[in-house]
């Protein structure tokens, strides 16, 4: 099977190679002396690494906390018997089809500090604070908001599909038992689609954790490193700062964290099969 050959060469060999690099010193692109785990022990002592890890977590959790409820809200509304449902759904999905580079571009222009509509609208509301990506207090928040804008359709689509599998009799029964709308959501809907919610949450966490392009284009990790996530460190160290070995080591840490998330994903799916 030729497909196997392609997949394994391009996926497994680089992993091996990355591990190999991360165990050496590098100068520019040349591998130098073998240093064992030194790159990794250096990371643990490196306060910048811990800071990047923290920023990654903030970014991922912040985005998760926004995208999941927004996705759920739209899914619940779209699951109601309303007119123009297909049109609403189509339009709401659009942000998800755009690339990270395009999304970043569009929002850079909206947050433009000289001519942007955000500045104008905030000004009308009497806010004079500078809300744009070069402000260290706001950069990460803006990234989370923009990320939410481009990602919420994903949970929305998955939740909508799951909601359509909930048997109507269950709602009927809940109603007869005197459940309010919110109680029937908590007691009937949520338990029924729990595994979808869990697996979506994990997939999103992975995606947020591994994100590079959006952050690179909007802030480049700045200002003052306030948006420098782990993956941004890999990208910047690997391609701009000529610290290939350090970048490869951080890349491996990202990979290991991915494995942890993926294993929990598989567990969730297994548990779901038990029902």
């Amino acid at each position: 099977m030729p497909s196997l050959a392609i997949v394994f060469t391009i996926s497994f060999y680089p992993i091996y190679y990355a591990v190999d690099i991360s165990l050496h010193e590098t100068r520019f692109l040349q591998k130098q002396a073998f240093v064992g785990l030194e790159q990794y022990t250096r990371l643990i002592r490196d306060s910048e690494f811990l800071r990047a890890l923290l920023i990654s977590l903030k970014y991922a959790i912040g985005s998760l906390v926004l995208t999941l409820p927004i996705g759920m809200l739209f899914a619940l509304l779209l699951n109601r018997p309303i007119r123009f449902r297909a049109a609403f759904r189509t339009i709401l999905i659009i942000p998800w089809t755009l690339s990270q580079a395009v999304t970043a571009s569009l929002w850079m222009w909206i947050f433009n500090p000289s001519y942007g509509p955000v500045k104008y609208l905030l000004g009308q509301l009497g806010v004079s604070q500078v809300v744009f990506v070069s402000n260290p207090d706001w950069a990460l928040t803006i990234l989370v908001l923009v990320n939410t804008w481009m990602t919420y359709p994903f949970p929305m689509v998955l939740f909508l599909a799951a909601l359509q599998t909930v048997p109507l009799e269950l709602y009927e029964a809940a109603r007869i038992d005197g459940c309010s709308a919110s109680a029937s959501f908590r007691r009937v809907t949520l338990p029924y689609i729990r595994s979808t919610v869990m697996s979506t949450a994990i997939m999103l966490t992975l995606q947020f954790f591994n994100m590079v392009t959006l952050i690179y284009v909007m802030t480049g990790g700045g200002p003052l490193g306030t948006t420098e996530t782990l993956t941004m460190r890999v990208f910047l160290d690997g391609f701009f700062n000529f610290r290939v070995a350090a970048a490869a080591a951080v890349g491996m840490v990202v990979f290991l964290l991915n494995i942890v998330f993926s294993l929990s994903y598989i567990r969730v799916l297994r548990q779901a099969e038990l029902y």
Binding site: F74, V102, Y115, W149, A181, V212, F239, A247
Partner: protein, 281 residues
């Protein structure tokens, strides 16, 4: 759903309001970009912003034609997308067919290993892939880029097509085999026509992935005329000479246009494909 305490009319109104606000927010950045791209430079650089383009101009789009390399970026992305669709389908379809129809030792293990590779984050392996490209002098090469894209997409493609093959009744192939078809012949004549919707769906996913990719395009190209659409776009933004927002938004709109076209034509396939698995970012 049905609520006994709040009036249904109120709930319905609220539904429409929230969905409409959502739609406005979903479209606003695109519309604002589109409006900017057809304004004159003088109307773009004003504060407070002037919302509507007056006069309307297509100068920014025309100027892009002459801006070094821009049409070339689009051609490159098109070639890479088409090449990746071709290679991925050619490599994955027989594999998916075998996985769906034959029992062989270690099948589950191989399938899981393939799936596992799709969970390797792109960012963790771009550096080794980049170094590999330098060592083998394969920077700025269409075939190498297509190979990397395909390797990232084949796992998902195999699993996706496998699902479609499994839905085809076995009787059809057995009839073909009895009539003297070889196994590849049966696959080609019986299975392929029946799984076309699946092939279409996954092709849409592959197209969107390659067209929207920045990471591979950025790392595996160093020559200006090999850049892809997304890389070209970002480089306009980072231009030392400063950016013309009109130009930039025109470029952005052009970069989005093929995606929105495919999305509007093949929405159902698009959603099937994209929800079928996680993608590297």
């Amino acid at each position: 759903m049905a609520s006994s305490r709040v009036s249904p009319v109120f709930i319905n109104t609220l539904t429409y309001i929230i969905l409409s606000v959502g739609c406005v927010l979903a479209l606003a950045p695109l519309v604002w970009g589109l409006l900017t791209s057809i304004k004159t430079d003088a109307t773009i650089a004003t504060y407070p912003p002037r919302w509507l383009p007056n006069p309307v101009t297509f100068d920014h789009y025309l100027a892009l034609q002459h801006r070094g390399g821009t049409p070339r970026f689009f051609l490159n992305s098109l070639i890479l997308s088409a090449g990746t669709i071709l290679l991925s389908l050619l490599a994955a379809t027989p594999g998916a067919y075998a996985a769906a129809r034959f029992q062989f030792r270690g099948k589950q293990a191989i399938l899981l290993a393939i799936l596992a590779t799709s969970m390797i984050p792109g960012i963790s392996i771009v550096i080794p892939i980049y170094l590999l490209a330098i060592r083998t002098k394969l920077l700025n090469s269409y075939p190498f880029m297509i190979l990397v894209y395909s390797a990232w997409l084949i796992p998902q493609t195999i699993w996706f097509i496998k699902g479609f093959v499994e839905m085809v009744p076995r009787d059809l192939e057995e009839a073909a085999l009895l009539d003297g078809c070889t196994v590849p012949g049966a696959m080609y004549r019986v299975i392929l026509p029946l799984i076309q919707p699946g092939l279409a769906a996954i092709s849409v996913v592959i197209f969107i992935f390659v067209w929207n990719d920045f990471l591979i395009g950025m790392t595996l190209t160093s020559e200006e005329n090999m850049r892809t659409v997304q890389v070209g776009l970002v480089r306009v933004l980072q231009d030392d000479r400063g950016i013309s927002w009109g130009h930039f938004m025109a470029f952005t709109i052009l970069a989005v246009a093929p995606i929105l076209l495919v999305f509007s034509l093949l929405q159902k396939r698009f959603i099937e494909g994209l929800t079928s698995g996680a993608l590297k970012g």
